[in-house]
Subunit: 149 residues, 4 copies
């Protein structure tokens, strides 16, 4: 079951060009949660002098992780456009290390899916949280080619 959701999440992410450009991938999806990974690379550096990761890369990772959680946590293939997104940055990410995002649905109503995510870096067993995110998605129902079904 949870393996199927990882596949479902991977399929969702694989068609997003900015995910491919940044080499973003799904580690795992289960229930209403998704874990995604953004590998350290030249593409995400914000400051070439010291190799520090661009804040925009972290925002993109969280945005994508929340949207993917909303997609995998709903039955079928319901696509929910983002209504709003809020990001808090705690600290700079360390150069040379992957960024990992864990996103969770925290509530589903008839009209909105509420999600939360955090982005961290792993230092041995420790998670060093770099930023958190809250994303709300509108439920507009199942659609095929932009038309309701």
């Amino acid at each position: 079951m949870s393996e199927n959701l990882t596949v479902k999440a991977g399929r969702f992410v694989s068609v997003l060009p900015h995910c491919r450009l940044l080499n973003m991938s799904v580690d795992h999806a289960e229930g209403q949660s998704v874990i995604m990974r953004l590998p350290y690379s030249e593409a995400i550096i914000g400051n070439p002098e010291n190799g520090v990761i661009a804040g925009g890369s972290i925002t993109t990772l969280m945005d994508t992780a929340c949207g993917t959680a909303a997609f995998v946590g709903l039955p079928g293939n319901e696509l929910c456009p983002t209504l709003d997104l809020r990001v808090d940055y705690f600290k700079s990410a360390q150069p040379g290390k992957d960024l990992v995002a864990k996103a969770d649905i925290i509530r589903i109503t008839n009209s909105v899916v509420f999600t939360r995510a955090e982005v961290y870096q792993e230092h041995g067993d420790e998670k060093d949280v770099v930023a958190t995110c809250a994303g709300n998605f509108m439920r507009i129902g199942m659609q095929i080619n932009g038309r309701p079904v």
Copy 2:
């Protein structure tokens, strides 16, 4: 004077790899405002079936525009890390058209730069606003190689 700020903004953006990947550029910078452009391309498509632009591309554009406004609106080369960012999405962007972001500093205090941005598409003379953004940036003072000066 305002031409210098456009140059300053362009220099700031040119070192950000995700801007180069998405072909983002500065149209104009003046006073405490910046206008940036994200051309329509395959790189920003979120839905390959209908060519609809990925929400993540719009977030990245606004995030970058707010950060650039904070940079050009302060004297010298003060780099302010993002403290938080909030995005509201009004509607889907139309395929085939550029996205333009106008970002403004709305207040500078000793510790925080407050910015706002909106992203729109141009239909003739009309601006069709797609999303808005509020970004707050921490002032940590002038730095060279990560050390205060």
Copy 3:
């Protein structure tokens, strides 16, 4: 016409007990905008030593102003519950002076009303902005006694 909206706004606010407790009132409503006033009084002081206004009072004023704008800007008596609210504080409000909030609807879609507000104090002709707010409200349709009509 605009006088009617001021009456409509006043009626909406008059049944809210926390507005009565704080003596909040509607100065003017017109189109999709509302101006509300929170008089300086002991009830809104946060720091008894220096008379500084409590941040919570400012939040309540903006929350109410945005909700009132959503109510008066829609036809009929459509009540829209708050979906989310974001407040940025620029500075402390000055003791001894009223707080004024101007709230505007910035977009209405089928499912959401997007509003913005700012709170300021008047120093002669000058407006000193203390805080800004973005509030999104769900459209759940016209209701009587909690049932759709």
Copy 4:
């Protein structure tokens, strides 16, 4: 130790007039967490026809709980003004029942205290979450009568 923090939190809240008006109180404070209670009363009703609680009362409760957590979680008597606040509303609160807020500091940096809160109602052993909140507070250092010490 934790009893002292409950006393410290109660002292902080007791001088806030809007807390007294709404009869808000501290249930418990410990470490970097605070639990506050807003009793159901006429003062928090938003809709006199059905007794539904005003959204503004919930915002005020969360705003106060986050600020109190920031105060009790820092050593000494450091007062941190609110920088920004974001609230998500999941559902209407049930008439006739208290609202309880649990607020936690999730990170302290040199310049900012990051907090989170949720507001719930208790149905037997179950917590029914009504809204969540993220509040960021500026650290401006220890002050006496508005002057740094």
